[in-house]
Amino acid sequence: MTPRPPGLAAYPSLAANPRLSAWLAFSPGGTVTIRPGKVEYGQGVWTALAQVAAEELDVALARVTVAPVSTGTSPDEGVTSGSLSIQHSGSALRQACAQARALLLEAAAVKLGTAVTELAVEDGQILAAGRPTGLSYWSLAAPGLLDREAGDPVPVKPPERWSVAGRSAPRLDLPDKVTGRPRFLHDLVLPGMLYGRVVRPPAVVAELVSAGDPDLPPDVIVVRDGSFLGVVAATDAQALRAVGLVAKAARWRVTESLPDDRDLKGFLLSAPTEDVPVESRHDERAAASATTVRAAEYTRPFLAHASMAPSCAVARWDGEQVTAWSHSQGVFALRDALAAGLGLDPAQVTVHHAEGAGAYGHNGADDVTLDAVLLARAVPGRPVRVLWSREDEMSWAPLGPAMLARLSAGLDATGRIVTWRQDVWSNGFIGRPGRGGDPRLLALAHLAGGQPMPPAPDGPPTGAMGSTRNAVPGYGIPDLEVIRHRLLTMPIRTSSLRSLGAFLNVFAIESFMDELAECAGADPVAFRLAHLTDPRAAAVVEEVAEFSGWAGRPREEGIGYGIGYARYKGLAGYCAAVAEVEATDDVRVRRLWLAVDVGTVINPDGVINQVEGGAVQSTSWAIRERVTFDRARITSLSWDTYPVLRFTEVPEVAVRIVTSGHPETGAGEIAQGPVAAAIGNALARAAGVRVRDLPLTREQVIRAIEEG
C-alpha cells in the first residue's frame, strides 16, 4: 500500500503560495525555470534547489535555470534565514514539480490513449513502454497548464531513487564568478543611472545642526531631510568627492550614548531587562543529590558582519511607483518596510533581488535600499545607485549583540550532572525590517521627525530563536532552568548574525561541560556521551572523536585538543567539532575536524563547503573579532581595526557527513557554536588556563593567567 502523503500543511512555502506556476515554468528551448522565494548569497542554495527540481521532474540539471527573486513574480517565502531554505523551498519545489510532472503525464496519457502507469520520463521526454513518444514536457506544457493551485500532495521520489539530488553538483553561479562576468548587484548598470552617496552622522546619536554651504559642482544634487544627508551625481567618483565636501561642511550635535567597550559585562548586567523563562524542569530529589556545584560566566563581544562588499542598492521612482534592486535576504519584508516607512501602499513598491557578497545575517542591505529610494526621490525617473563606504558598512550595519551567559550546575557523587541553571543576557537578535511591527530601516530614524529605532525583538524564548537559540543544553539533565534577560535599551543596534545566540550559548555550555568533566575526572568525550540520550548526537561525537584521533593522543607542550557539540536550535542539524590549538606565543588554531548529520543531503559538497566556511568564520570570531567603540561611535571601521583571519592563519578543516535517513535540515549555521567551543576547550588544555570571554586572544590568556 502506498503511504498516504502528508497534507499540504507539511509544505509551508507551497501552502502559502499554492499556484504551481509561481514555482516553475517550462521555458522555450527545452529549459525549466524554477522560481524559489529564497535568495542566493553564496551559500549555494540555488544549485541545491535546481537539483531538487531536476530530480523530481526527471530532467538533466543543465536544463534547470533559477529565476532571481522578485516581489513582483516570486513566491513569498519570507526571509532567507535560519538555515531553512532546503527544508522550506526544497520541499515546496519538490512537491510542485511532482504535481507538474503528474499533470503533464496525464496530458500525455490522454494524447497517447494509454495509462499514466505505462509512461516514464527521460530528461523531459515522455517514454511509453520504454520507447520515445515524440512528446515532451515542452510540447505538452500548454499555456496555463500550471496556472492552478497545488492539489493534495502526491508521492515524491524517495531518496533511494535519486540520481541528481543526493550527489555533489558544481555550483551554477561559479562559472560567472571565476571569469568576472557581471553578476552582483554592484555590477548593475541601468540606462540613465545616477550615483548617490550618504553622509552618515559622525556618531550613533547625532543631530544635523547645519549642512553648511559646500562648494559643489552645479550638477550635484544634495538631499537633506532632517539629519539624513546625501548627494546624487553623474558618476560614483563625483558622488564620492561631493560627499566628502558635504561631510566637511556639515555641523552636528553629538551625544555620547555608548557604554564602555571594555566592560561589556557591566553594560549587560546594568541595563533594564525583560526576563522570561526559556525552559524549566524540576526534579528536587535529583537537585538535592548534587555534591559538587560549579558556576561560571562566559561573554562574547559585539560582532560585525564584515561582508567583503559594502552594501549596495539601486532604486527608481516612476510617478508613484518605486522599483528597487537589493541584496536583502528578505525582499518581501523590505518591500513592506519601505512602504510603511514612506507612507506608501506595498503595491507601489517592487523589490528585485540581485546577489551581493556573502551575507551572514541582517547586514546593511535593507538600509542601503532605503538610502537609494530616498535619493532617487530627488531625481524622478532616474535610477540611483548607492554604495556604502567600508567605514559605514562596519559601523552602521546592525551588529551581532554582545552576550553574557551565567551558568551553574551540580554533579552528584557519581559525576553525573543533576541540575543546571543558565541565565542569558543579550540585546535582541530579531531586528530585521518589519519585526516587532516597525520598519526598522536605518535612515528612518534620521529623517525629520524620525524616531529612534526601538530595541530589537528577540523572538519567542523557545531555545530555538534569538538569544535563546541553543540556550538549553541538549543533555539529559533532570533539573534545569534557563532564563532569558533581553535588554530593553539598545545603545548599539543589533540584529541577526549567523547562528544568533547559539554561538555564545554553545561556547558557554560546551566550555562548562569540559569544566564539569574535569570536576568529575572524566574524559570530555566520554562525559558528553554519558549525558547524551539521542543516538544521532552520540554518532557525530563518536565520529569526530574517531577521525580526529581523540583517544590516545600523546601530550604535547603548548598544544591542546578540545571538543564541542550541539544540535542546532535543539531541533535541526547535529555537529561535533574537535580543534587543535597551539598556545605558545599566540593563540593559533591549527586544525579542525567536524562531523555533521543534517539528515538527507541534496548536495554533499555544498554541505561540506558550508560547514568548512562556518568553521573558519567561527574560528575568526572566536579568536580574533571584537567590535570596538568609544562613547559616541564605532571605532572598528576597517580591516586594520576589525581584522579577520587570513590565509596564513586559517586552520585546516576536515568535514565528514554522517549519513542518516532523517528529513533534511540546514547546514549553514551548525558549525558556529561547536567550533568556538572546541577552540575554547583546546585552548584551556594548551594554555592550562580557562578563558571565558571571547575573543580568545593572547591578551585574554594573559589576563586569565593573572587572574588565576
Binding site: 550527489r167 571565476v178 567583503m308 557578497a357 563547503n609 566556511g613 580591516w639 596564513t648 586559517v650
Partner: protein, 171 residues
C-alpha cells in the same frame, strides 16, 4: 574637476578614456571600461577584492592611481583566459568549487595567476603567503589553497585536505 586623457593597456588592448586625474585604477576599469571582475571591497588596498596584475605583479587597484598605470600592461580576471579556454587557475577554482559568494574570487585568481608565473611550483605555505592580502569572509580558504596547488600541477589539490580525513564526495 578638469578631465584628462588616460591611455591604458588592459588585457592586451589599448584604451583611451577621459577621466578625473585622481581616478583610482579600479574606477577606470569598472566605470570606464565596463570590467566587472575587479571589485570594490574597502578602497584602502586592504582586502584584495580589486586586485589586478600590473606588469606581472598582483596589486590592489582601488588605491592605485589610474595615471600610474599608463605605460604598463594591466590584466584583470577577464584577461586570463587564452583562446577561449579558462586559465588553469580559473579551471582549478571550478574543479575545487573554491568559492561561496565569489565576491573576492577574481582578486584571488589574479593573485594566484601572478604567483604561478613567477613560481610555478609553490609550496602550500608559499600559496598561503601569496594570498595573505586577499580576504575571504565566507571561509573558503582551504578550497582556494587546494585550487592553486591543483593549478600548479599537483594532481589533486584536495589532497592536503584529504590527508586529514575530509570527506569530500567525488564529483
Amino acid at each position: 574637476m578638469k578631465q584628462q586623457e588616460l591611455h591604458l593597456t588592459v588585457n592586451g588592448e589599448d584604451h583611451t578614456l577621459a577621466c578625473d586625474p585622481d581616478l583610482p585604477l579600479l574606477d577606470a576599469l569598472r566605470a570606464g571600461l565596463g570590467l566587472a571582475g575587479p571589485r570594490f571591497g574597502c578602497g584602502l588596498g586592504l582586502c584584495g577584492a580589486c586586485m589586478v596584475i600590473i606588469d606581472g605583479k598582483a596589486r590592489a587597484s582601488c588605491d592605485y592611481p589610474a595615471w600610474a598605470a599608463e605605460g604598463t600592461e594591466v590584466t584583470t580576471v577577464e584577461g586570463l583566459p587564452q583562446d577561449g579556454a579558462l586559465h588553469t587557475v580559473q579551471q582549478a577554482f571550478l574543479d575545487e568549487q573554491a568559492a561561496q559568494c565569489g565576491y573576492c574570487t577574481s582578486g584571488m585568481i589574479v593573485a594566484a595567476a601572478a604567483l604561478l608565473t613567477v613560481n610555478p611550483g609553490p609550496t602550500e605555505q608559499e600559496v598561503r603567503a601569496a594570498l595573505d592580502g586577499n580576504l575571504c569572509r565566507c571561509g573558503t580558504h582551504g578550497r582556494v589553497v587546494a585550487a592553486v596547488l591543483r593549478a600548479a600541477g599537483h594532481h589533486d589539490g584536495g589532497e592536503q585536505r584529504a590527508r586529514h580525513g575530509s570527506g569530500r564526495a567525488a564529483r
